[in-house]
Symmetry: C2
C-alpha cells in the first residue's frame, strides 16, 4: 500500500476530470465495487484474493467485501465495509476497524456495507447519474445489476452516462478518466513494476536452469511459481511453458524436455502490491540452437531490439509494430519462406501468418493493463481505428507513446500448421508465402522474446534491475555453465 497522499491525490484528480463531463449538480456519483472472495470449488475454499484493480488504484484496500463512492458534485467520499465480530476474530484474527481503514487512505467517511444499497437507491430516486466501471467478475456484475436494477449483460457494456439518470450500462466518462490516469505511471508505481520485474527475472532464471533434457515441464513450472510466491503475490498470469510454443497460450505442462526442441517460457510475477511483470524467453532444449532455430531466433531478437530502439515519446506503437513486421518479413524472405515486395507484404499483413498477435500491450496493476475497461479505450487514441488484419488487429497497444507508458515488447515467429493450412486453402497470402519450404517448419514450434519497457522523457528504459540474457550466444553460454 502506498502513502495516504497517493490515494487522496488520485481521487482528487479523478474528481477534476469527471467535473468536465457535466455541469455542477448534474455530475452524479462514481461507484466502485471491490472484489469479493471467488469460490474455487466451493464457497469458503476461495482462490487467493485479488482486489479489483481500479479499486486498488483509488482506494488501496486489498481485502474482500468493500465498496466506495465519490459524490462528483460535492466531492464527498465514503468507504463501505463491515467491522468484524467475535466469530471473525476466531477465524481471521483481530482486524482494524473500517473507519480506521478509511482514515488510512484519506477517505472522509465510512459506513457498513448495507448503507451502500440505501445510498444508491436514494440517489437513483433523486435522478442522479451513477457512474460505474464495466464489471469483470460475475460477483461484481450481479452486485451492480442488483443495486441499479439493470440486466447483468448491460453491466459489462460501456456507453456515455452523463445526464442519463441511474445509468443503464458502464460509464464511458468514468472509463476514459480512469484510463487517462492509470496509463501514465507514477514514480511509486514504476518502483513497484521494477520489483515485479526482478521477481520475473528470478523466476525465468529458474526456468532456464531447469531446461535440461529429461526434466518435466510441470516440475519447472512449479519451481518458477514457487519463486513468485516466495518473493511476491504470485504469478501475474497463468504461466506459459511449452515445447509447443506455436500455441500462443499453451497452459499444459505434461511433457518431458526433449533435446532438439525449443522451450518457450512466457511468465511474470505480481509484486505484493499487485504490479505486474511479463517476460518471454525461448530456450534450445539441448542447450544449443540448431542453425535452423538460430536463423529464426535471430530475426525475432532483432525485432525485439528494433522495437526498443524505436520506442520513445511521439511515435505510435502501431508504427513500431509495423516496423517490426517489416523487419520480420525481410528476415523470412532471406530464408526463402516468403517472397514478394516487402511493402506489399507488409500492407497485406503477411506477417500475421507468423505472428498472429500484436507487438505488445500496456502493463501495470494488470498484466494487460485495464483490459477489463475495454481494449480500444486503453490501447487506442481517439483518432486511431483498430485494424482487422490477423496480427495487427490483435495489437492491444497502438497509441502514440508518452512518458510514463509501460508496455511490453514481444515479437514472435510461430509455425502453426492449422493456420498455414487455412491460409493455403483460402489463398490469404496472395502468392507471397512459400508453402513448400514452410513444410520443413511444421514441427518447429515457436519463438517469442519479450521485455517490459518504460517510456521516458526522451526514449525508453527496460524495466527491472537485471535483463534476462536474450542474445542467442548469451543464452547458450548461460545454459552451458548452469
Amino acid at each position: 500500500m502506498f502513502e495516504t497522499d497517493v490515494y487522496i491525490r488520485r481521487r482528487r484528480v479523478l474528481l477534476e476530470k469527471m467535473a468536465d463531463t457535466a455541469a455542477e449538480g448534474k455530475r452524479g456519483i462514481a461507484l466502485f465495487i471491490g472484489n469479493a472472495d471467488a469460490p474455487q470449488n466451493y464457497r469458503g475454499n476461495d482462490y487467493k484474493f485479488r482486489q479489483e484493480s481500479s479499486f486498488l488504484y483509488f482506494w488501496g484496500i486489498d481485502e474482500p467485501g468493500f465498496a466506495a463512492t465519490i459524490d462528483l458534485d460535492n466531492g464527498e467520499e465514503c468507504l463501505y465495509g463491515n467491522d468484524v465480530d467475535i466469530d471473525d476474530i476466531i477465524w481471521m484474527g483481530p482486524q482494524p476497524s473500517v473507519s480506521s481503514k478509511a482514515a488510512r487512505i484519506g477517505a472522509g467517511k465510512s459506513a457498513p456495507a448495507a448503507v451502500l444499497d440505501t445510498f444508491i437507491s436514494h440517489s437513483v430516486s433523486q435522478g442522479r447519474t451513477i457512474h460505474f466501471l464495466p464489471a469483470s467478475r460475475y460477483y461484481n456484475t450481479m452486485k451492480i445489476s442488483s443495486l441499479l436494477g439493470i440486466p447483468a449483460e448491460d453491466v459489462r457494456k460501456t456507453a456515455p452516462a452523463a445526464g442519463r439518470g441511474k445509468a443503464a450500462s458502464a460509464s464511458e466518462e468514468l472509463v476514459k478518466a480512469v484510463v487517462s490516469m492509470r496509463l501514465i505511471k507514477e514514480e511509486c508505481e514504476i518502483e513497484e513494476i521494477d520489483k515485479a520485474c526482478e521477481i520475473g527475472y528470478l523466476m525465468h532464471t529458474e526456468a532456464r536452469k531447469g531446461c535440461k533434457p529429461g526434466a518435466k515441464e510441470q516440475d519447472i513450472v512449479g519451481r518458477m511459481e514457487g519463486v513468485t510466491l516466495s518473493k511476491g503475490w504470485g504469478v501475474s498470469f497463468t504461466t506459459i511453458l511449452s515445447q509447443n510454443g506455436e500455441t500462443l497460450h499453451n497452459h499444459s505442462h505434461h511433457q518431458i524436455i526433449t533435446p532438439g526442441r525449443l522451450l518457450l517460457v512466457d511468465a511474470g510475477a505480481e509484486s505484493n502490491t499487485h504490479y505486474a511483470s511479463d517476460f518471454t524467453r525461448t530456450y534450445p532444449c539441448s542447450g544449443k540452437f540448431t542453425q535452423k532455430q538460430r536463423d529464426i531466433y535471430d530475426i525475432v531478437e532483432s525485432c525485439n531490439e528494433l522495437a526498443f530502439q524505436m520506442a520513445k515519446p511521439g511515435i505510435t506503437y502501431r508504427d513500431v509494430h509495423i516496423a517490426t513486421a517489416r523487419q520480420m518479413l525481410e528476415g523470412l524472405k532471406s530464408l526463402g519462406l516468403v517472397n514478394g515486395d516487402t511493402d506489399t507484404m507488409v500492407s497485406e499483413g503477411i506477417a500475421g501468418l507468423f505472428q498472429p498477435h500484436g507487438l505488445g500491450h500496456n502493463m501495470g496493476i494488470d498484466v494487460h493493463d485495464m483490459e477489463d475497461l475495454g481494449e480500444n479505450y486503453v490501447g487506442y487514441d481517439e483518432d486511431q481505428t483498430r485494424a482487422s488484419q490477423l496480427g495487427l488487429g490483435s495489437l492491444r497497444m497502438a497509441r502514440r507513446l508518452r512518458p510514463g507508458h509501460v508496455i511490453t515488447d514481444e515479437p514472435g515467429i510461430y509455425f502453426i500448421p492449422a493456420l498455414i493450412a487455412d491460409w493455403k486453402k483460402n489463398g490469404t497470402d496472395k502468392g507471397m508465402v512459400n508453402y513448400q519450404k514452410l513444410e520443413e517448419y511444421y514441427d518447429f514450434g515457436g519463438i517469442r522474446l519479450e521485455d517490459d519497457v518504460l517510456i521516458t522523457a526522451d526514449g525508453a528504459r527496460r524495466l527491472g534491475p537485471h535483463r534476462l540474457p536474450i542474445k542467442a550466444d548469451d543464452i547458450e553460454e548461460a545454459m552451458r555453465t548452469e
Copy 2:
C-alpha cells in the same frame, strides 16, 4: 482422468438412486453445469481453471464451458460444449472434438453449448422437473438462474424438487444421491488421495526444513506451494502458515520466524486429478519446544492419536470428537487451566474455548468434501442434529463411520485473547476456567495436528505412504538434523 467405465458406472448408480425419488415418467432431468473460467483481475486473465467437483466426478472433463444432462426417465445423457475454431487453435492449440470427449467418458450424446438452453426450456414447458445441485460460483448461479428463470438467491437453496415442475431451488433428492456416492470413496479415488497425501508430505517437509529463526514466512510458503505445483495441481486450499496459530485461518505471511514462538502450518495439495490432502503440524521456531509448549503439544498429540485409535466403522465421529474433547479437558485440568468435574465440562462445551472448531471433516475431490452441497447433508446422518455449542457446533463430520469414508483428524488448542475475554465477560465457562492462569498463555499462539484418515473394513488407515513426524521428540530430532 479415470477409465471410461468409472464414469459410466457412477452415472448408472446415480440414475438408479434417482429412480427411487418419483414414479417413471415423473423423474425429470438432472442438470450439471461445469465451471467457466473465473476472472482474476479481468476477463481473460483467469484464475487457474478448477472444474466443479460433482461435474468432475460424473463427467470427468477438466475444461471450462461444459454442461451435461441425464434424462432420469429414459437414461439419455448429453454433454454440451463447443468445438474449437481456427482462432481457438492459434491460442489454445488443436483440441479433440466434443463428440470424442463425450465418447471418452461414455456419454451417449453431445451437442453444442446453445442446445442446452433449448433442451431445458423445452423440458420446462413440458412440466418436467429439473434437478440441479446448489451453485457455488457466481457464474453457475447466473447460468442456472437464467436457464430456469428463477432468482439467483434461490439457486443456492436446497429443497425437495420432485413433482414440482422446473424446480425453484436446488434439488434435495439430487444432493442426497450425490452425497451418498461421493462419501464412500472408490479404490481409484483412494489411490489419488494417497498421491495427494504424498505431495502434502513433501510440502510439509519443505516447511519444517524452512522453519529456522530469521527465515521469512512468505519465503517458506512460496517454496511449499512450489512443490504442490511441481508435483500436482497446486494447493488444495490457501496455505495457513503462521506464528499466530491462534487465528484459525490466518493467511498473512509477513512475519519473520522468531525463536521461542510456534509455527503452525496447515496446508495440503491437490493431485493432478483433483483429489485433496490436508495436514497440520506445529513447530517450535527454535527447533526445541519449551516445557510450557510441550505440555500443550503433548495433549493435542494424544487427542490426535486417540481419534485415530477410535475411528472405525460403527462409531459416530461426533462421539470421537467428544472423546477427544474429554481428553483435552483432562490434560488442561492437570495444567490448572480448567477445573471442575470432567463430565460437566464436556457437556458444557468448555473445550470450545480452546478448540472452537470440529475434530475433522470429510475429504475427497474437495478438501472439505462437498461443502457446497450443504454441510448438514454431507456430515450428518438423518437422525443427527447439529449442536449449537462453540466447537462441537462447528463439527463438519458427525456421521456414523463407514468403510470408504475419508476424514481428517485435527484436534487443536488455541489461546485466543478476544475469545477468552468474551467468555470471561459473559460467564460462559460457569466458573470452570482459570482465567488468571490463562493470562500466562495470551502470547502462546495455537497448536493443531492433523492427519488424513481412511475408514477401512475394520479400522482406519492414515493416508499417504509417509507420515509426517508428529511426536514432539521426533519433531525436535528432525529439526536438529535438517
